[in-house]
């Protein structure tokens, strides 16, 4: 494979483009409401209408407004353009399509009418998005490498192998300001540099696709919609750090993502874009899949590596960090799916372009899975620093049925609840941390007035308790104790002393646990206590030995816990 071969593939694809493209979402969300049936019905309808020469029915990745699926969009081509996004000719977006709608949809190509509900592609939900990671999502066919190549795929890999030394490449990533999208936001370029510097014959690159936060599906969508962007990012990273073997650790609950990754790896190998002597350079790189077995903690990097090695997936203390001694004791680069998906665009368009998006310390965009009590649920990609209010009110359309937004939860079980008063907060790593939450991997759950915050805290605590690997004492015993105390409070059987105990435990578990799971498990409790303390104290019963509930004010945690409180706002997600 040389660059001309890439161009040839793209040219052939363009030449073969038909007048109309009916894009039908084939990501897991829409597929769960029978988009496969819709696609087959559309193909039949096209055949029946004798339009095969004019119309392509294309299965694509996530089209973002998942709550309205199955989604179908019909574009008309201008000469030479392969994708609607190249030609700005995005057609109408049809929502909640059923197979029975196929004939009427196809009839619109010949001036017919369809009763199918139409969405507005110019709604802020779409127009306020800025797509880097999801640029191809919903447009290309994720099951065909040619489709990715036509969208400039593997161009970046070619260019770094031809034009950049690993050092220059890492310099470029550092300059872009890209930070890890897996939760903690560690600067990606610095991580690469550390692995690059490690002296070892054998190094590994791992893609963390374990995505375990309840309600999060950003990584799944990227893998289902544009798997090659992750493979290309990994290959570029491998070249930068000097690795020749990669693993993608993907959770077993994502069968579609796994199937598409398998297919993508096979196609890339066939074209020589993975394997030995890539682009006729001395660079060799292979990728294998490893399937998780349903443990949230296996998303933690050291537990993940133990799991890849076939061991029980439990974290281990760091140092040594994976960058020094990781998989099979070799230096290992581990990044999140979305982090890798940002890499090829940065290489193609330049570090300056990327650094021009976002805020001073948080560059680029972030993908969020918008869910909960909100009108438009789905996948959004916005520039870092976008105000929370813009996301939930303008793009998300606010709470449904005229409800009022009470809080937004970010960062899943490691994060916190941001109250409605703080909705003007820009969404970036540091602002969220300041509010006692975290960016996390991108789950964003909107809550309305009907939501009980103590219940929310208990939900996440229960999740952490169930998912605690049990290796270290504070998390093993502490999550269970905190969960029991929350139950007691919710049952109305708790006193102020119980609440005090709960707070003490929060700091104790936060400060003494081994890995990020335990260290952040108390965050949902602490953040709801910070902003919604009254919801706790209202549930307390009078205490014969202590002060009455109304004596508890919101001035912070109980005295005995003070020694354990962090002295500054440390983002303690253990990354």
């Amino acid at each position: 494979m040389v660059i001309d071969d890439l161009t040839e593939i793209a040219d052939k694809e363009r030449a073969a483009r038909k007048r109309y493209t009916i894009r039908c979402c084939m990501a897991a969300g829409c597929m769960s409401s029978n988009s496969k049936g819709v696609k087959e019905a559309l193909e039949d309808a096209v055949n029946q209408a004798g339009l095969q020469q004019m119309v392509e029915v294309r299965g694509v990745g996530c089209m973002k407004l998942c709550c309205q699926g199955p989604l179908v969009q019909i574009d008309s081509a201008t000469a030479g353009a392969t994708f609607a996004l190249e030609s700005n000719e995005v057609g109408p977006l049809y929502q909640k399509v059923t197979p029975e709608d196929a004939n009427s949809l196809v009839s619109t190509l010949k001036g017919g009418q369809t009763p199918v509900q139409r969405g507005d592609p110019r709604h802020p939900f779409f127009s306020a998005q800025l797509s880097i990671v999801l640029a191809n999502s919903g447009f290309i066919d994720p099951e065909r490498i040619e489709s990715y190549i036509t969208a400039e795929g593997y161009q970046a890999l070619h260019d770094v192998l031809r034009e950049l030394t690993p050092k220059d490449l890492i310099e470029r990533i550092i300059k872009s300001g890209l930070r890890g999208r897996g939760g903690a936001g560690y600067p990606t370029g610095l991580k690469w540099a550390t692995v690059g510097k490690a002296a070892s014959q054998q190094k590994y690159v791992i893609c963390n696709a374990d995505e375990g936060d309840p309600g999060a599906f950003m990584d799944r969508s990227v893998l289902e919609s544009d798997p090659h962007s992750v493979l290309e990012g990994m290959a570029i990273a491998a070249y930068a750090v000097g690795a020749n073997q990669g693993f993608i650790y993907v959770r077993a609950e994502y069968p579609l993502a796994i199937a598409r990754l398998h297919a993508a790896i096979k196609q890339a190998k066939k074209y020589g874009l993975l394997g030995s002597g890539i682009f006729e350079s001395p660079f060799n790189f292979n990728i294998d899949l490893r399937i998780g077995a349903g443990a949230f903690v296996c998303g933690e990097e050291t537990a993940l590596m133990a799991s890849v090695e076939g061991k029980r997936g439990t974290p281990r203390p760091r140092p040594p960090f994976p960058a020094e001694s990781g998989l099979y004791n070799s230096p290992t680069l581990i990044n999140n799916v979305e982090t890798f998906a940002n890499v090829a665009p940065i290489v193609r368009k330049g570090a300056e372009w990327f650094a021009g998006i976002g805020t001073e310390k948080s560059k680029g965009t972030k993908v969020f899975a918008l869910a909960g009590k909100i009108t438009n649920t789905g996948l959004i990609e916005v520039p870092m620093g976008t105000a929370l209010r813009k996301i939930v009110e303008e793009m998300g359309g606010g709470a449904p049925d005229g409800g009022k937004i009470k809080a937004v939860q970010t960062g899943g079980p490691s994060g916190g609840c941001i109250p409605a008063e703080e909705l003007d907060t820009p969404v970036d790593y540091d602002s969220l941390t300041k509010l006692g939450s975290i960016m996390g991997s991108g789950g964003m759950i909107v809550m309305d007035e009907t939501t009980k915050m103590v219940d929310v805290a208990r939900f996440f605590m229960e999740f952490c308790m169930d998912e605690s690997c049990g290796k270290c004492v504070p998390c093993r015993a502490g999550t269970a104790q905190m969960h029991q105390l929350l139950n007691k409070i919710l049952a109305g059987n708790a006193t102020t002393r119980d609440l005090q105990k709960l707070e003490e435990l929060c700091y104790m578990v936060k400060n003494t646990s081994l890995c990020g799971l335990g260290q952040t498990a108390p965050n949902p409790v602490l953040s709801t206590l910070r902003f919604f303390r009254k919801e706790y104290t209202d549930l307390l019963m009078p205490d014969a030995f202590g002060p009455r509930p109304n004596a508890v004010n919101g001035t912070g945690h109980a005295a005995a816990g003070r020694n354990l409180a962090p002295t500054e706002g440390v983002p303690s997600s253990g990354k």
Binding site: C472, V473, Q481, M508, N511
Partner: protein, 565 residues
């Protein structure tokens, strides 16, 4: 982590001197090496806070850390606060106005067992926050602990008890139900597990996997349902399982052999050696009222690290056997006193023609005894030998040579080369009538080609032993001797380490330490006086036997001295 069993070996070339760094522990300055060898691979690893605290003699409580095992970092008991030397933008240390370097205190505590030290680091083990964390961890550990100390074998040696007194709160704040788990799990032929007592420190798992190379134990289930178990369908049955009982910080693992036998605080502890093979593992004998209850390994990095094998550990019951030889016997099994017997024997030996005596000594005897027997043999012009005891070796400790002192037998000149090669010659010489007197120590020669009929041809058969056998039944003089637990002495183990052992219990009946009566016998026979104390005897031997040159009883200390071999 490699699965290969490994122990530090002494023979490696001395590593290059390691760079030293200075740190402060609770205000006290100590200097520690920048790296410390990994206990398993010997690879240099960054020196950790807990190692620095040890060097400063500051105790940091811990459960999962064990100096001979890979670090797990799961119990969180060793959390400390710390600060590091602040570095400015110019990468130079920032100084306080008084010229000392500025310390920036870490906002988070760190586990001392896994966190490397850095130059100028300050470690605080005693702050209110540290105390509170320890209390918290202890409290968590006690939530699911059954608190059945009155019937627990570990009571008295339990770190949970110990730390609760030192670091715990007086009352538990939690009344929530305990998680119930299996109380009596048969892990293997020698080990019983109480899962409710287990604090999941994983020491036992790491030991069997990383030291023994038998990946037999593991944890199943998540969170507070974590349960220690043997691999499904597999027995925990290697030759080192009982070491896990020693390293278990609580009473979760118990030895079927020792269970409910004795409360540990009644046991007298005596430094001794295992005699079951040539490795010579250092042990502690636990005894009470002249009865041995258990062996436990005693740390010696030049020999056995902190371990010993199960077969050696359990090989102590013969010491207290009811049929121990306890009666001194003269001809015709007649009762006789020591001085009369030794006099009669020495008379016979003096009369014996030079070269008409043979001497078979055991390589289970001490260096001193073999040395004395050697002197006797020289005087008598006796052919000598001892008896090889071959077995199978393993990769960890067990040696193929099941004699504890084969090397001693060789160095004192008692054993033929190869050991045992003189035995047929001695049998032949008895048959031909050339040998008329045979002295046997601690071996049953009827199993070595000398049938009772052949022994019947002898004029005099002098036997010393501990337990009865076919040879002792034919003896004209039967001198009851001592188990090693009943006397003092030294062995030379397989790599040439000369090690002492001490007396734990009194011998039965007439039995006396062999070196003691040999000293008398030699005096009677040769007129040469020796030492009536083991210290003097050893030092005398060191002066005469070239291999033991420069050694002294006192100089051997508790862990012995290696001689070139």
């Amino acid at each position: 982590m490699s699965n290969a069993p490994s122990l530090p070996t002494e023979t490696k070339p001395a590593p290059a001197p390691v760079e030293k760094i200075k740190v402060r522990v609770d205000g006290k300055e100590v200097e520690v090496p920048k790296t410390t060898p990994d206990p398993l691979s010997g690879r240099p690893l960054p020196t950790t806070m807990i190692q620095a605290c040890n060097a400063a003699r500051v105790d940091v409580p811990h459960y999962c850390y064990h100096p001979k095992l890979p670090v797990a970092g799961n119990c969180r008991m060793c959390l400390v606060e710390f600060g590091t030397a602040a570095v400015g933008q110019d990468r130079k240390p920032v100084l306080n106005p008084d010229g000392t370097s500025k310390i920036s205190k870490s906002p988070r505590p760190a586990i001392a067992c896994a966190t490397p030290v850095s130059p100028g680091m300050e470690i605080y083990t005693n702050t209110p926050a540290v105390k509170q964390m320890r209390e918290g961890v202890l409290e968590f550990l006690l939530i699911n602990h059954p608190l059945d100390c009155p019937i627990c074998d570990q009571a008295g040696e339990c770190k949970l008890q110990e730390y609760s007194v030192e670091y715990g709160k007086s009352e538990s704040r939690f009344v929530e139900p305990k998680v119930h788990k299996p109380k009596h799990v048969d892990l293997g032929p020698r080990i019983v597990l109480d899962d409710e007592r287990c604090i999941l420190c994983t020491r036992c798992i790491r030991f069997t996997k990383d030291v023994v190379g038998d990946d037999a134990l593991g944890i199943v289930n998540r969170g507070s349902y974590n349960t220690l178990t043997a691999y499904p369908g597999k027995q925990f049955d290697n030759n080192y399982t009982l070491n896990t009982v020693d390293i278990c910080p609580v009473g979760a693992l118990t030895s079927k052999d020792f269970r409910f036998q004795m409360r540990v605080w009644f046991l007298k502890e005596t430094k001794s050696l295992c005699t079951s093979c040539a490795t010579g593992c250092n042990i502690i004998i636990g005894s009470r009222e002249e009865k041995v209850y258990r062996y436990e390994p005693r740390e010696n990095d030049a020999v056995n690290s902190s371990w010993m094998c199960d077969s050696g550990r359990l090989n102590y019951k013969w010491i207290g056997r009811a049929d121990r030889l306890a009666k001194l016997q003269g001809p015709g099994s007649s009762a006789i006193g020591w001085s009369a017997a030794l006099k009669e024997i020495s008379e016979k030996l003096k009369q014996a023609a030079k070269g008409s005596t043979a001497l078979i000594a055991s390589a289970r005897q001490t260096n001193e005894e073999l040395y004395l027997l050697g002197k006797l043999a020289v005087k008598l012009g006796a052919m000598t030998d001892s008896v090889p005891r071959p077995g199978e070796a393993d990769k960890l400790l067990l040696n193929a040579d099941r004699n504890p002192n084969s090397l001693g037998a060789r160095l004192t000149g008692i054993s033929a080369d190869p050991m045992g090669s003189n035995l047929p010659k001695i049998a032949e010489a008895i048959k031909s009538g050339r040998i008329k007197t045979l002295i046997v120590f601690g071996e049953d020669v009827t199993e070595l080609g000398m049938s009772p009929d052949l022994l019947g041809m002898l004029q005099t058969l002098i036997v010393s032993d501990i337990l009865p056998n076919a040879t002792t039944r034919l003896a004209h003089y039967l001198l009851p001797g001592c188990a090693h637990a009943e006397k003092r002495g030294t062995f030379t183990q397989t790599k040439g380490r000369v090690q002492r052992f001490m007396k734990a219990v009194e011998p039965p009946g007439d039995a006396r330490p062999e070196w003691e009566f040999l000293h008398e016998l030699i005096l009677n026979t040769t007129g040469q006086d020796g030492y009536a104390s083991i210290e003097g005897l050893f030092n005398q031997m060191a002066g005469e036997v070239p291999a033991f040159k420069d050694l002294s009883w006192a100089g051997l200390g508790d862990s012995g001295v290696s001689i070139p071999i």
